[in-house]
């Protein structure tokens, strides 16, 4: 399928390209729950002194991916609910990689490819992999039909690939080579921006010799970096035992670190941006970094919504989350709406950038807007304006789905391909009737999956 729809929200607070390395904190608060993972299987005891790279906990439902200690410290299990705390943190000497540290479900005689994959898993690099169709963690010992490597992060505002690439181009290309060694002959699609950028040119030069790596250029429009959208664009169908693996720049860098240097992946480049960020930038931080320290002075005073991820598909950071989780790509700060605008709808709107061209701003060049959490209007019934259909990157019809779900007809909604929705959030963003289409679709999909599971559970004993 061709790339269709999409839209880049013009918002103030884009992080600058420089990367700031933060000093180590005294304590680390490692959340045991993140978007994909739940590290419920604890591997250390209260009071243990652990070295960097030590497996603190595992997620048994996700191929046992480990939660690693980023630094040396003393474990506290019950200091903060849902977190594992490391006290008296110091740099420490890394934990040696033990051969015996082998999850039970790995076959005994590991070939070199399996060894490598096992290494990825143990050193925390496997967490950067996604199943392009479902977004879940793929099986590290499975066989993919293809790998998508995306250098793009188009949602405002997540850690940009180019920022991470700039200093570590060599490591990146070596990482690509390493991916190749994990595979047999499957292609690697390298997603590059379709603009003349010096960096993209350098990357293209660097991979010229690799036969398996196919560069793919896509326009810089959200959400063309979405793995599901890309998989459909590349014609990679969902197949049961042959998933499409996908990873981003940071994944390739982590993989290179794990396989070339045999070091655990303890640091992440994350962005701190958004209209309510005082100095939007990229920082290097480790999982567990105390959010309070991380965000103080970086976020404006007053009521602010702090999001884990971008403004379109991120999640609000729960008030009880104390430290950076191990999947965070960026933190976005958005001011709460506090003022009621007077006669907002008759103002010319030179300062309001809109997808439609109903504001005076249509006559000028795109400009970043200081947005808030305001939904900027009142809820109304759908007027069939068609904006949601135009903007939807999945090529489905959000207004129709909305109508069907409103009538509680989940079955019909699935028939008109609710399952293709990639939860990009653009339809809700653009709807003038302020219908929460995307949220409604997520809930419906949730119900659908539950029903399916029940169905399967019923069929199994028969």
């Amino acid at each position: 399928m061709k790339l269709r729809g999409g839209y880049t929200v013009q918002m103030a607070g884009k992080p600058v390209g420089s990367v700031e390395v933060l000093p180590d904190p005294d304590e680390l608060y490692l959340p045991l729950f993140s978007r994909r993972f739940r590290f419920t299987e604890l591997c250390v005891g209260d009071g243990d002194r652990v070295r960097p790279g030590k497996v603190l906990a595992r997620d048994p439902s996700n191929h046992g991916v480990p939660l690693l200690a980023p630094r040396e410290g003393t474990v506290r299990l019950n200091a903060i609910p849902r977190h594992l705390v490391l006290q008296n943190v110091s740099a420490g000497v890394p934990e040696p990689l033990e051969d015996s540290d082998e999850p039970s479900h790995i076959p005994r005689n590991l070939g070199s490819v399996e060894m490598k994959r096992n290494k990825l898993l143990l050193l925390g690099a496997w967490q950067y992999f996604f199943d392009a169709h479902s977004g879940a963690l793929p099986n590290p010992f499975g066989t993919p039909q293809a790998v998508i490597v995306s250098t793009l992060n188009l949602e405002p505002f997540l850690g940009r690939g180019d920022v991470q690439l700039r200093a570590r181009l060599k490591s990146f290309t070596r990482g690509l080579e390493q991916i190749q060694t994990l595979l047999e002959y499957q292609p690697i699609f390298l997603i590059l921006p379709k603009v003349a950028a010096a960096l993209a040119e350098q990357v293209s030069q660097a991979i010229r010799g690799y036969a398996h790596i196919k560069p793919v250029h896509v326009p810089l429009r959200y959400p063309f970096d979405n793995f599901t959208v890309l998989a459909r664009y590349l014609g990679l169908k969902r197949q049961k035992d042959q998933p499409v693996w996908a990873l981003r720049t940071e994944g390739v860098l982590a993989l290179d670190r794990a396989l070339t240097a045999s070091k655990p992946c303890d640091l992440r480049v994350i962005s701190i941006g958004g209209p309510a960020a005082t100095s939007p930038a990229h920082v290097v931080a480790m999982p567990g970094y105390p959010l309070k320290t991380l965000l103080s002075k970086r976020i404006a005073d007053g009521p602010v919504r702090v999001l884990n991820g971008g403004v379109l598909s991120g999640q609000e950071i729960a008030p009880d989350q104390a430290g950076l989780d191990c999947e965070c790509l960026g933190i976005t700060a958005l001011g709460e709406q506090t003022e009621r605008e007077f006669l907002a709808f008759v103002r010319p709107g030179a300062g309001r950038w809109s997808y439609s061209r109903c504001f005076l701003s249509a006559l000028r060049r795109p400009m970043p807007e200081r947005m808030t959490t305001a939904i900027r209007g009142e809820h109304r019934p759908c007027v069939s304006c068609g904006f949601c259909e135009e903007i939807c990157p999945a090529g489905i019809m959000p207004h129709l789905l909305h109508k069907l779900l409103y009538q509680d007809d989940l079955e019909a909604a699935i028939k008109v391909r609710l399952d293709l929705c990639v939860a990009c959030g653009l339809c809700s963003f653009v709807c003038p009737s302020k219908i929460d289409l995307c949220g409604q679709f997520q809930k419906a999909m949730e119900t659908f999956r539950m029903e399916q599971m029940e169905h399967m559970a019923q069929e199994a004993p028969a």
């Binding site: 399928m1 929200v9 918002m11 169709h133 459909r232 169908k237 969902r238 197949q239 919504r305 403004v311 379109l312 598909s313 991120g314 609000e316 958005l334 709460e336 709406q337 506090t338 009621r340 605008e341 006669l343 709808f345 950038w353 809109s354 439609s356 061209r357 109903c358 504001f359 249509a362 959490t373 305001a374 939904i375 900027r376 209007g377 009142e378 809820h379 109304r380 019934p381 759908c382 007027v383 069939s384 304006c385 068609g386 259909e389 090529g395 489905i396 019809m397 129709l400 028939k415 391909r417 293709l420 959030g425 809700s428 963003f429 653009v430 003038p432 009737s433 302020k434 995307c438 949220g439």
Partner: protein, 362 residues
């Protein structure tokens, strides 16, 4: 501003649950939200929203109609303004009543209907007929279907059909001959009582008698006709604004006008008897006004892109056919209503086609 905000704050209590005025809360809410955008924050992703809302969308339509309204007042006099006021008042009452009964918000959609309706009527129509027509249109055309967003037919057209059936004589007369020299009829008030002296014939009606109005006259609006359709120039001004702002679908406008011109060309060369050339047909009657303002109503047109094309072509062809093959002089109204009826069906077909294409996606 602050004063107004305080006033609203103080009166809000009177509409609270259990108070005597509680039933009219939608009226208060509408008034309050008219002045001050409400505080409503996003609860889940996406956390930011586009600034466009329904109020703005409807305002754009009203702004786009203003040139046509100005021309109507200029050529036909102040009675047109009185018609707009009456239409708003009468339609507003129905809208508010239904909002109160249903305990829903008052919808902005009727602001557009109330403005469009008088502009598709003969400019000297008695005011009470305007009131009856708009009430019927809003009630039957919209509220009985469940309100804005759920209606099948364009409410303004439903009101007009009703008037055409109930008062055929008044709807066939009451045309005013325009005055072009400044200041036009801008200082006159021509109502149905005074119309006989200056009655005019619409270009389409005159053409059946073999008299063709000049192209330039029709372009500027110096011809008799429904209030809003008189000046092609004014309609184009507003219509192009609507398309530039993406409020109206360009596909519908291009589809209607394109297919209309095509059919007119065919008829011009095949039908016996004098049929004026296509360009003349385009400027005469309500086809331009209908294409830009009535057919593009998003609620009553198909939502899918494919459906929009088909819908537009049906309207364009039907207008031309009704004009020449039936006893009616003008066919836009019935053509658009026909399109409205077909819209859900066209959507269904378009959806089926789209699904066939999506079926292979995993």
């Amino acid at each position: 501003m602050k004063l107004l905000e305080r006033l609203l704050d103080r009166t809000r209590g009177a509409f609270a649950e259990g108070k005597r005025l509680h039933r009219t809360k939608p009226v208060f809410d509408a008034a309050e939200n008219f002045f001050f955008a409400p505080i409503s924050r996003a609860k889940s992703a996406p956390f930011v929203h586009d600034p466009l809302d329904i109020k703005r969308l409807m305002s754009m339509v009203i702004i786009a109609i203003l040139p046509a309204l100005a021309c109507a007042v200029y050529f036909f006099g102040l009675h047109v303004l009185a018609m707009v006021v009456v239409s708003y008042a009468a339609g507003g009452i129905v809208e508010v009543l239904f909002a109160v009964v249903r305990k829903e918000e008052i919808n902005e959609g009727f602001l557009v209907t109330g403005m469009l309706f008088p502009l598709i009527l003969p400019p000297a129509l008695p005011l009470w007929m305007v009131a009856v027509g708009v009430m019927f249109g809003v009630l039957v055309g919209k509220e009985l279907f469940g309100g804005t967003g759920r209606n099948l037919f364009n409410p303004a057209l439903v009101g007009r059909v009703f008037l055409a059936l109930a008062y055929p004589a008044a709807m066939a007369g009451n045309w005013i001959s325009p005055v072009a020299e400044p200041p036009g009829r801008i200082l006159q008030y021509v109502s149905s009582g005074a119309v006989d002296a200056i009655a005019g014939a619409t270009p389409l009606a005159a053409a059946k008698q073999g008299q063709l109005a000049g192209l330039q006259e029709m372009f500027l609006g110096n011809v008799a006709g429904s209030a809003g359709e008189t000046s092609a120039l004014a309609i184009l001004l507003g219509g192009i604004l609507l398309i530039m702002t993406r409020v109206a679908s360009w596909r519908i406008v291009v589809g209607v006008l394109g297919s209309f011109l095509l059919m007119e060309t065919v008829l011009h060369y095949t039908l016996p008897g004098p049929i004026p050339p296509p360009m003349w047909q385009l400027l005469a009657g309500g086809i331009l006004f209908g294409a830009f303002f009535m057919a593009t109503d998003p609620v009553t047109s198909p939502a899918t892109t494919g459906g929009k094309w088909a819908y537009a072509i049906i309207i364009g062809l039907a207008t031309a056919l009704i004009r020449h093959l039936t006893g009616y002089v003008e066919g836009v109204m019935f053509a658009i209503l026909l399109g409205n009826i077909c819209a859900p069906l066209l959507d269904e077909v378009a959806v089926a086609v789209r699904l066939r294409r999506l079926a292979h996606e995993s």
